[in-house]
C-alpha cells in the first residue's frame, strides 16, 4: 500500500490524475528561490520558455542573462558568476547541457567547486516526436561520474519545485534532471523532500517482502502501479523514490536489499551508467542481491509519442512487472 506518511496525491491511481510537466515545477522553484535569495541568477541558452524560465526572466530581468545558443559559454559564464558569490541556475535541454558542455562543467564548475545549478530539461525518450537527437538518455551517467556533482531527478513537478529551492540553498554543483511532457502528480506539498534522502513511497504490510523497486523520475508512477498490481496478487513490495542519485542514500538502499532480497531499478536512461548502475555499485559492496534493470539498453531513441517510446524501449508497466517477477525467481 501507499506509505501514508508520505502524504502522496490521493488521486495517484485515478485515470484523471492531474498531470503537469516536471520542468514547470523547476520554473516555479526558481522563481521562489530568486525571491528568497538575491544572489540567485539565471542563464539560458535560447530556451527561456521551454526551460520554464519565463517567470524568472520577467520578475528578475536584471538577474537574467540570455546566452544565445552557446552551451559551452553557458557553463563557463555561470562558473565565473558563482566565483563572485552568485548562485547561477543555467538551463538548456539536457542533450546540450550537460550533453555538449560536459568538459566545461567538469573543469570550470566541479573542479573549481562552485555552486552552479545545471537544469537539464527534456531528458529521456519522453521528449517524443523530436527524435533521438534530442532525447538525453546519457545525462545521469555523465553527471554522476563527476566528483562533487549532486544529481537530482525529481518524480513530478512538485518535487522538482522543492528540489530547485533546496538546491539554491547549497554550495554544491548540482544537476537537476527535468522532463518535457506532462506526467502524473505523485506527491503533495506535505510529502517530505531532502537532497540525498530516498523515500519509501509504497510498502506492503507485514515484515517479510518479496521484491523492492527503486525508481527515479516520472517512471516512479509506473513503478507504483506495478507495486499495486503485485500486492493485489499477494506479493509484498516496497517502492523507493530515489530522487537524489548522487550522493546515494546508501542506508536506504541497503535496508531495502536486506528487507526484500531482490531489487528492480527503474529509470528513463541508459542502463549503462545510470541510477541502476549506482544502485548496483552500492549493493555489490554492501549487500549483493539479484537486480533487474529497467532502462534503455544501449540504443538511441527515435520519434514517437512518449508512451509509445517508453513501451518500445522496455520501460512500460508490463516490463517493470516482468522484471519484478524475474528477479523474485533469482533469489
Amino acid at each position: 500500500m501507499i506509505n501514508p506518511s508520505q502524504q502522496l496525491n490521493s488521486k495517484i491511481f485515478d485515470t484523471d490524475v492531474e498531470q503537469v510537466p516536471i520542468r514547470k515545477g523547476f520554473g516555479e522553484g526558481l522563481l521562489k528561490a530568486a525571491e528568497m535569495n538575491r544572489n540567485v541568477v539565471g542563464l539560458c541558452a535560447d530556451l527561456v520558455d521551454s526551460t520554464m524560465m519565463t517567470g524568472f526572466k520577467q520578475k528578475f530581468s536584471d538577474r537574467f542573462i540570455e546566452m544565445g545558443i552557446a552551451e559551452q559559454n553557458l557553463a563557463g559564464v555561470a562558473s565565473g558568476m558563482a566565483a563572485m558569490g552568485k548562485i547561477p541556475f543555467m538551463t538548456s535541454y539536457a542533450m546540450f547541457s550537460p550533453g555538449r558542455n560536459w568538459e566545461q562543467i567538469r573543469t570550470t564548475i566541479a573542479y573549481n567547486n562552485v555552486p552552479v545549478k545545471i537544469a537539464g530539461s527534456h531528458a529521456g525518450v519522453s521528449v517524443g516526436p523530436d527524435g533521438g537527437t534530442h532525447q538525453a538518455i546519457e545525462d545521469i551517467a555523465l553527471m554522476r561520474v563527476i566528483p562533487r556533482m549532486v544529481v537530482i531527478s525529481p518524480c513530478d513537478a512538485i518535487e522538482a519545485r522543492k528540489a530547485t529551492i533546496a538546491a539554491a540553498q547549497t554550495q554544491e554543483p548540482t544537476y537537476i534532471r527535468l522532463a518535457r511532457e506532462k506526467t502524473p502528480i505523485i506527491t503533495t506539498e506535505d510529502t517530505p523532500f531532502e537532497i540525498g534522502k530516498a523515500e519509501v513511497m509504497f510498502k506492503s504490510q507485514g515484515s517479510s517482502f518479496n521484491v523492492g523497486i527503486i525508481a527515479t523520475g516520472a517512471l516512479l508512477h509506473r513503478a507504483l502501479k506495478v507495486a499495486q498490481k503485485l500486492e493485489a496478487e499477494g506479493k509484498a513490495v516496497i517502492v523507493l523514490n530515489l530522487a537524489t542519485i548522487k550522493p546515494l542514500d546508501v542506508d536506504a538502499i541497503v535496508q531495502l536489499a536486506n528487507q526484500t532480497g531482490a531489487i528492480v531499478t527503474v529509470e528513463e536512461h541508459q542502463i549503462a551508467g545510470g541510477m541502476g548502475s549506482a544502485v548496483a555499485e552500492c549493493l555489490a559492496s554492501h549487500k549483493p542481491v539479484p537486480i533487474e534493470f529497467i532502462g534503455v539498453i544501449d540504443q538511441f531513441g527515435q520519434s514517437g509519442t512518449p508512451d509509445e517510446l517508453i513501451e518500445h524501449y522496455g520501460m512500460g508497466e508490463k516490463d517493470i512487472y516482468a522484471a519484478a517477477c524475474k528477479v523474485m525467481l533469482r533469489k
Partner: protein, 290 residues
C-alpha cells in the same frame, strides 16, 4: 602618465627574476612548458608589479582586480610571478608538478586558493571572466572600479568556446574586461598560421565589437600605454594582441615551436637555459644576478 625610467628598470629586474625562476622550476620539475611562460614574463611583471590592484597578503580582498589565466599550461610564469610578488615563498616554486605540491601541473584553485580559477583545458577563461564581470556589474553597476584581465594563448583561439564568450562580451558591452592574447605564433604542432590560421586576427575581434590594440609584448611602455587605453574605452571590451617571442630570454630556444611543451632536460640544454636567464644571453655578467 607614462612609466618612469625607474619603473621600467624595476619591471625589467622583476621580469629577469621571473624568467630565472621559470627556468629553474622547469628544470627541477623535468616536465612542463617553456616557450609561453618565458614570453609572457614581461606582461606578468607589468601586471603584478604595476597594474593590478591586489594584496598578496590578503588574496581574497573583495575589491581586488581579477587576473584569470586561461591557458593554464603557462602556469610557471603565474606561479613565479606570484611568488616574487609575495603570495608564497619563492622556494616553493621548486615543488612544481610534484606530488602533494600546491603548484599543480595546471593551476587548481583548491590547491592554491589565491588563484581566481583552475585552468588547463583551453578556451574556458574568457567565459569565466565574462561571468565574473556580469556578477560584478550586478553588485556594483557599470561604474565598478574593478578591472578584469584574462590572459589567453593565440593557439588557444582555435577553441570555439572562446568565440561564444567573445560574442557575449561584445553584446554586453563589458568595459572593465581586458583580454591579452599571447601572440607568439606557435602551438604544439607548429606555427599557428600553419596549424590553423588565425589571421586576420585583429579583424576577427573587431567584428565581434571589441576594442583592439596591437603591442610589442616585451616593451613595458607599450604594454602600459595599451592597458591605459583599454581602461579608457567606454562600452566595449578590450583585447590587446601582444606580439611576443616564444622562449624570450633564451636566444637558442627563441621562436622554436619545439619548446612549446617541454623543459630543458639534457645537460647541454640546462646549461644553455640557465646561462641565458642568469646573464640575459651574455649581455650582463653572471655575478650581477647570481
Amino acid at each position: 602618465m607614462a612609466l618612469t625610467s625607474e619603473k621600467v628598470t624595476q619591471l625589467e629586474s622583476k621580469a629577469r627574476d621571473i624568467r630565472r625562476s621559470i627556468v629553474e622550476m622547469l628544470i627541477e620539475a623535468k616536465s612542463g612548458h617553456t616557450a609561453g611562460p618565458l614570453d609572457m614574463a614581461d606582461i606578468f611583471a607589468y601586471l603584478y608589479f604595476h597594474a593590478l590592484k591586489h594584496d598578496p597578503k590578503n588574496p581574497s580582498w573583495e575589491y581586488r582586480d581579477r587576473l584569470i589565466l586561461s591557458n593554464g599550461h603557462i602556469c610557471p610564469v603565474l606561479y613565479a610571478t606570484m611568488a616574487h610578488a609575495g603570495y608564497f615563498p619563492v622556494e616553493e616554486l621548486m615543488t612544481l608538478r610534484k606530488f602533494g605540491s600546491r603548484l599543480q601541473g595546471h593551476p587548481h584553485r583548491e590547491w592554491l586558493p589565491m588563484l581566481e580559477t583552475s585552468s588547463g583545458p583551453l578556451g574556458c577563461g574568457i567565459s569565466q571572466t565574462v561571468g565574473m564581470t556580469l556578477a560584478d556589474r550586478l553588485d556594483n553597476g557599470r561604474s565598478s572600479t574593478k578591472q578584469f584581465y584574462c590572459l589567453v594563448g593565440d593557439g588557444e583561439l582555435d577553441e570555439g568556446n572562446n568565440w561564444e564568450a567573445i560574442m557575449l562580451a561584445g553584446k554586453e558591452k563589458i568595459q572593465n574586461l581586458t583580454v591579452i592574447v599571447d601572440r607568439n605564433n606557435i602551438q604544439i604542432d607548429g606555427f599557428t598560421e600553419d596549424v590553423m590560421p588565425l589571421n586576420p586576427l585583429v579583424d576577427k575581434w573587431r567584428s565581434f565589437n571589441w576594442h583592439v590594440q596591437e603591442i610589442n609584448g616585451h616593451d613595458f611602455r607599450d604594454i602600459d600605454r595599451a592597458i591605459g587605453e583599454a581602461q579608457a574605452v567606454f562600452d566595449k571590451p578590450s583585447v590587446i594582441i601582444a606580439y611576443t617571442i616564444p622562449s624570450k630570454g633564451i636566444p637558442a630556444f627563441e621562436r622554436k615551436f619545439e619548446w612549446h611543451g617541454k623543459p630543458p632536460t639534457t645537460p647541454e640544454e640546462i646549461k644553455t637555459a640557465l646561462d641565458a636567464v642568469r646573464t640575459l644571453g651574455g649581455r650582463v655578467s653572471n655575478s650581477d644576478h647570481s
